[in-house]
């Protein structure tokens, strides 16, 4: 479903963010990408979203080379990939409800679908009571739950989570990971980039370990070992 083919991303001649990375992610997998800061986790996710272009190599989403997708194709691909970020990246001028609805509007859903699905998504993340709060009125954990609802509301095939718990306390961290597991159980592929030992070890799922832009380990039921 996701295929990185000998991908390198070189920002300057002396430092390569990602070097010659090849791996495949199958549907319904829950993959953790681990490594120190700067190991290349975020870069890999940005490459998949076509937020960055690779210096060499190709990135495929299903059969589409995401960096050769046309102007019209790229939004279509992105609607099938939900993203969650460490800094939440909610739209500050929109309420929780509107943030989630925006992803559906952008994906050209009808008003009826939006009115039906957004409350369901809010319910999934347990924020029905805070639908009309603006991001600055929400706690960190709540913001991240809105972000998850936004990422999930279009029923994407994949969810990319880049350090989603980096700014959260242990209780919120557990809740967020719980949500991701729940979403994975509903059949969505989840790619989680993190450097949190406890999460990775408690998941007992596939772990890809990165070091200095290269894959050093890829274990089916891995642990965080660096």
């Amino acid at each position: 479903m996701i295929y990185f083919d000998k991908v390198s991303k070189i920002y300057s001649p002396t430092s390569a963010a990602v070097e010659d990375v090849t791996f495949t992610i199958e549907p319904k997998e829950f993959v953790s990408m681990v490594g120190h800061s700067g190991a290349g986790k975020t870069t890999l996710l940005k490459l998949l979203l076509a937020e960055e272009r690779p210096t060499s190599g190709k990135v495929f989403f299903e059969s589409i080379d995401v960096h050769r997708a046309s102007r019209d194709e790229l939004p279509q691909i992105r609607r099938r990939i939900g993203s969650i970020f460490q800094d939440f990246r909610l739209l500050p001028q929109k309420t929780a409800y509107e943030n989630i609805a925006f992803a559906m509007e952008a994906a050209e859903n009808t008003d009826e679908e939006i009115a039906n699905d957004v409350p369901q998504a809010l319910e999934l993340v347990g924020l029905v009571g805070k639908a009309h709060h603006f991001p600055h009125e929400l706690s960190g954990g709540e913001k991240q739950r809105v972000a998850i609802a936004r990422a999930f509301v279009n029923r994407p095939d994949v969810i990319l989570a880049d350090e989603p718990t980096g700014n959260l306390d242990p209780i919120n961290t557990r809740e967020i990971i719980g949500l991701l597991k729940k979403i994975n159980n509903l059949g969505t592929t989840v790619v989680l980039a993190t450097h949190n030992y406890d999460i990775v070890n408690s998941l007992e799922r596939r772990v890809i370990t990165l070091e200095k832009g290269r894959i050093v380990r890829d274990d089916k039921r891995g642990r965080y070992v660096i």
Binding site: E51, Q93, F102, A106
Partner: protein
Amino acid sequence: MSATTSAAVTSYSLKMKNVKLRRVIIAGVVNFWRNGWVSLAAALVMVLALFMIGSLLFSNVLLTSALSRIEEQVDISVYFSADAAEEEILNVRNALSQLPQVESAVYVSKEEALEKFRARHSANALITQSIDELGNNPLQASLNVRAKSPDQYEVIARFLEAGAYSSLIDKINFFQNQVVIERLSSVLAAARAAGLGVTLVLSLIAMLVVFNTIRLAIYTSRDEISVMRLVGASRRYVRGPFVIEGVLYGVFSAIITMVIFYPVTLWLGPATERFFGGPNIFQYYLSNFIQIFLLLLAVGIAIGVLSSSVAIRRYLKI
């Protein structure tokens, strides 16, 4: 079967287009409202630009009317010697009227000239008495010639000087007024050119300031724009609300500018009327209200939409 399906698809995509347009407009209006201070700042800067454009419009009206008044007052008088017969003078007039440069040529007989002279000095007993004392009419018959444009008087004067009529003519006051007339016509031409140049330069500066303000407003939204793109919004769908905001800057600034012009022209109206002898600009403002408003509205919306579309381009690249 397939025909009905494709018809259904077409009607669906048409409906979706309307839905998208509605969403874009609503999002633009909501953003404009929620970004209150930024919107206000951008609209006020645009008010300055529109106010300048409006002021230029008003001053152009005054200048044009003042210039045409001055031009109307420029003419030359051809004085004929005392022994020139009326018939001959009328011949000269007819010849002049044939010239393409001549707007009009009016004959003033000796008697008319005297009447006018008396009328002008009727309050002055000394002059009337001396005229009566003189017995005969000391004034000359003349032709008042008006050219189509001030720079053509010289051609007309030369025509009279060199032509067959020169023996009838005593003097042409063009050569006395020549310096003044030439200077005036060059001043008029320069004033027009300068007015146009200043208009263009000031408008350009105003538009650049507006453009930069809108660019700054969009710069503050650059993170949001990238989030919208990453969530899967198309370029057009992200750009739409910003363009609508640009339209709203234009609409609000046009309204504010028109409101400001009311007291300003009311206050300046009498003074400009006295100084330029032209129309009262308050009257002009009232009678051309809709045209001025539409002009400012069009300029404001054009600047707003153009600035927004150009400024957002670089952030859409993601």
